[in-house]
């Protein structure tokens, strides 16, 4: 009796597998959307007799993508792990100040400034992680609370830009190879490193597992607390890099450089746009970079078209909601295919 079954089941299974594989990978869709956007943008800008992707346009897109990219890379890690970080925007401001004030215009203090900023960032990430894992506060509330604390500190101690970045360090923000800023390349290097970490190392595997189902991960012997804390530390360090980069561009630290750009929600939007599940467990860095580039291209195109800011935000909102709705449909379709009666 059992032999009869073995013949019928695998055949059905293979059919199911084929349909799943024929569907495009979400990351591919993100980059197809980016290409489509570049084409449409080029045409629209072209109608005005200008060129979107000239030297300046590319530089513009990549510069916009650098700071947001760094924050979004970190955000990807916490979101994949099933968490969230709303404190990154204030942290970007704080680290820009720490870096610029420590450097105080001296070349010799560049390295200590960078290290101190990163150390403080790591500390904030550790606090976020501990609040979530030990005090068991929901990530949304925990990081919102930390964001409020950081805001309080910034409002009390700063009224505007402070500190001074030495001229030498400003090269980080402005040097470029052709239309490609060095900083954008460094951001992509960080992205590559994090991609490797997530897809090739054990802690990376465990982030996917904890985000996929924390109980399953725990029952399988994964140290879930450590995984969540690591994700938060890495996320905050990534935000610290963004703060240092912005200090180098601005020539000083600025308390609200992160919040003015809305890096907290913007980074989450980029991650989700890049196909990562907000609930965690599925997605990745490659998609996030695609999402960041889409947002940067939208902004650059709108600027070239001199669109009014309200319309700009409406379109960004529509793009985000459409993308998430599309992913949700695909998920449902996949699940229907993967499931036997």
């Amino acid at each position: 009796m059992s032999t009869l079954q073995e013949n019928t089941l695998p055949a059905k299974q293979k059919a199911t597998r084929a349909t799943v594989h024929r569907r495009l990978h979400p990351t591919v869709i993100v980059y197809l959307a980016l290409v489509a956007l570049l084409v449409v943008g080029s045409v629209l800008v072209g109608l005005r007799g200008e060129v979107l992707l000239d030297q300046n346009g590319i530089l513009n897109i990549l510069t916009r993508a650098t700071a947001l990219g760094l924050v979004a890379i970190g955000q990807t890690m916490v979101i994949l792990t099933g968490s969230l970080d709303l404190s990154v925007a204030y942290l970007v401001g704080l680290t820009s100040l720490i870096a610029a004030e420590t450097m105080a215009g001296q070349d010799s203090m560049v390295l200590p400034g960078v290290l101190l900023a990163l150390a403080v960032a790591a500390g904030v990430g550790l606090v976020n992680g501990l609040i979530i894992t030990v005090l068991k506060a929901h990530a949304f509330i925990a990081t919102l609370g930390v964001a409020l604390i950081l805001r309080g500190y910034l409002e009390n101690n700063y009224t505007g830009p402070a500190g001074d970045v030495p001229r030498g360090f400003q090269h980080l923000g402005y040097d470029r190879i052709g239309p490609v800023p060095i900083a954008a390349l460094l951001m992509l290097a960080v992205a590559a490193l994090c991609w490797w970490y997530l897809t090739r190392t054990r802690p990376g595997y465990h982030m996917y597992a904890v985000g996929g189902d924390i109980e399953v991960a725990r029952l399988s012997g994964v140290r879930t607390r450590r995984t969540i804390i690591t994700a938060h530390v890495l996320c905050s360090v990534a935000a610290g890099f963004a703060g240092i980069y912005l200090a180098s561009r601005l020539g000083s630290g600025a308390p609200y450089v992160g919040t003015d750009a809305g890096y907290d929600l913007e980074s989450i939007a980029a991650v989700v746009l890049g196909g990562t599940l907000l609930a965690g467990g599925r997605g990745g860095i490659a998609g996030t970079i695609g999402g960041v580039l889409i947002l940067a291209t939208l902004d650059t195109t709108f600027d070239a078209l001199e669109v009014d800011p309200f319309f700009k935000d409406v379109v960004r909102g529509v793009v985000l909601v459409t993308a998430v709705a599309l992913y949700a449909r695909r998920m449902v379709a996949n699940r229907a295919h993967g499931r036997l009666s």
Binding site: M1, Q5, Y208, G212, R218, G221, G281, N334, S341
Partner: protein, 500 residues
């Protein structure tokens, strides 16, 4: 059986409470290498908790655990793993988005030059799958593309990959169809021959007698008895478990004269999963729907209920042609569906017993809210739920009590057509019997019941007629009391005469 490698585990006086409620009250258990040791007990007797203590998931409040004579203490599942203990949990512990190999080695990924050694992970997984004769599963497949039975195999591979010498299995056959159970038996016996100690928790009497060498019985968190299986009869066992005589009896069937009008009729109905369905269910009868996993038996219930609606043919409820394209319409026509996945689809686990009971009534029917609350005790009483109160969250209830809450939820809207999919999966003898009696009672009151079950004795014991599905279509109909062989023959695509 080699003596050198066998492991013994001894649990002594284990106690464990949750939120002040004692679940284990001094349980002793001894496990030897090369034996299948069954643990039996009613709802909430503490079987699953005991297993989780052994697996390091729960820390006992008191008592000792010894492995090979040395006392151990597990801070977490990884400690238990290191001691050679692996557990296959009742709920699947797999990540659907990750591959088979990634799931098997989750938490123990082999590392080479700072990276996860994916090649080795895949190769080792393939080796274990081959050893089990499961070459239909590819280690790189995402788990979401596998069937329930294949996921079970992955669970077992996951446990084996830890080089476990003690394997705990919690209701391993709960999600399997009959023919897959045979494969699992083979597997368990092979593991035993290798000197592995198997702790086997199951509600199914037949399994326990087929497989186990010794049986330990728990009742209300206490140790009742431990005896070699050969010295026990099923009557003994039931008496130990429930403290009264209660066998695998089924309530009396309906009488043909009592049958009422046709409540549910399908004429040439079909969709992507099922085709050419012609069937009628009358008021007062229980019609069994048999079939292998994937034969479309659950798809029929889902289609009638409007989850994945029929796209062809017609469906009549109480003699009127209806197109049901969403569950809400079905509910309003008096159709109810008890799904096979009570935790996923049947209950809001973090809501109270009362809120769950009133879920459908509040959602689909107008008014009646005031009456609603006062009704709850009567409803819960009818299905005999044992809970600490109406406000207890259902996730804290045992499987049997959860299932009773699901039934209460539907009784609250007085359905006329009741579709039940695996109504007794993973629940104990006492609760099972209660569910059976309830279903028969409802039929007697004029409800048309369509019952799906992969447990053949249950299906045959309960049904007034049996419809058998094969490959998305009805393969035939059998009368009450048909043999298991006849059902299997139809289900596997053979004629009634050619019983294998």
């Amino acid at each position: 059986m080699t003596t050198g490698t066998t492991t013994s585990v001894r649990l002594t006086g284990i106690t464990k409470s949750f939120l002040g409620v004692p679940v284990l009250r001094g349980v002793d258990l001894e496990l030897r290498g090369g034996e299948v040791h069954a643990v039996m007990g009613e709802n909430g007797a503490g079987k699953s908790t005991l297993l989780k203590v052994l697996a390091g998931v729960h820390r006992p409040d008191g008592g000792t655990i010894e492995v090979d004579g040395g006392e151990v203490s597990f801070a977490g599942p990884s400690d238990a793993q290191r001691a050679g203990i692996a557990i296959i949990h009742q709920e699947f512990t797999l990540l659907p988005h990750r591959s088979v190999a990634e799931n098997v080695y989750l938490g123990r990924e082999p590392v080479r030059r700072m990276q996860v050694d994916r090649r080795r992970m895949v190769a080792d997984t393939r080796e274990l799958l081959d050893w089990l004769g499961e070459d239909g599963i590819d280690p790189t497949d995402p788990v979401s593309s596998l069937s329930v039975a294949q996921r079970q195999v992955v669970e077992i591979v996951k446990a084996l990959s830890t080089d476990a010498r003690v394997l705990g299995m919690d209701e391993p056959t709960a999600a399997l169809a009959d023919h897959e159970v045979e494969l699992l038996y083979d597997l368990v016996r092979r593991l035993r021959e290798r000197g592995i100690a198997i702790l086997y928790v199951s509600h199914r009497m037949r399994e326990v007698f087929d497989l186990s060498d010794r049986i330990t019985v728990l009742k209300d968190g206490q140790f009742v008895t431990c005896a070699p299986t050969s010295e026990l009869t099923s009557e003994d066992l039931v008496r130990h478990m429930v403290g009264r005589d209660l066998g695998e009896y089924y309530p009396d069937r309906g009488v043909a004269d009592d049958l009422g009008p046709v409540r549910l009729a399908l004429r040439g109905a079909g969709n992507a999963r099922v085709r050419d369905l012609n069937l009628e269910v009358r008021a007062g009868e229980i019609v069994g729907l048999a079939g292998l996993q994937g034969s479309g038996r659950s798809a029929v219930a889902r289609a009638v209920f409007g989850v994945e609606p029929f796209t062809r043919g017609s469906m009549e409820v109480d003699g009127v042609a209806r197109r049901v394209t969403r569950p809400r319409s079905a509910v309003r026509l008096g159709v109810a569906l008890v799904t096979e996945d009570r935790k996923g689809d049947g209950l809001a686990l973090r809501q109270s017993v009362r809120d769950n009971t009133l879920l459908v009534r509040r959602a689909a029917l107008r008014g009646g809210r005031a009456r609603a609350k006062s009704d709850v005790p009567a409803l819960l009483d009818k299905v005999a739920v044992v809970a600490r109160g109406e406000h207890q969250e259902v996730r804290f209830l045992s499987g049997g009590n959860q299932q009773k809450v699901v039934l209460a939820k539907w009784l609250a809207v007085e359905p006329t057509v009741l579709l039940v999919d695996e109504p007794t999966r993973g629940i104990d003898v006492g609760a099972k019997r209660a569910v059976h009696e309830l279903l028969r009672d409802l039929a007697k009151r004029g409800v048309a019941v369509l019952m799906i079950s992969s447990e053949l004795p249950e299906l045959i014991g309960m049904s007034d007629r049996i419809l058998v599905m094969h490959d998305g279509a009805l393969a035939g109909e059998l009368p009450a009391g048909a043999s298991e062989g006849a059902v299997m023959a139809l289900a596997t695509g053979h004629g009634v005469g050619e019983v294998p």
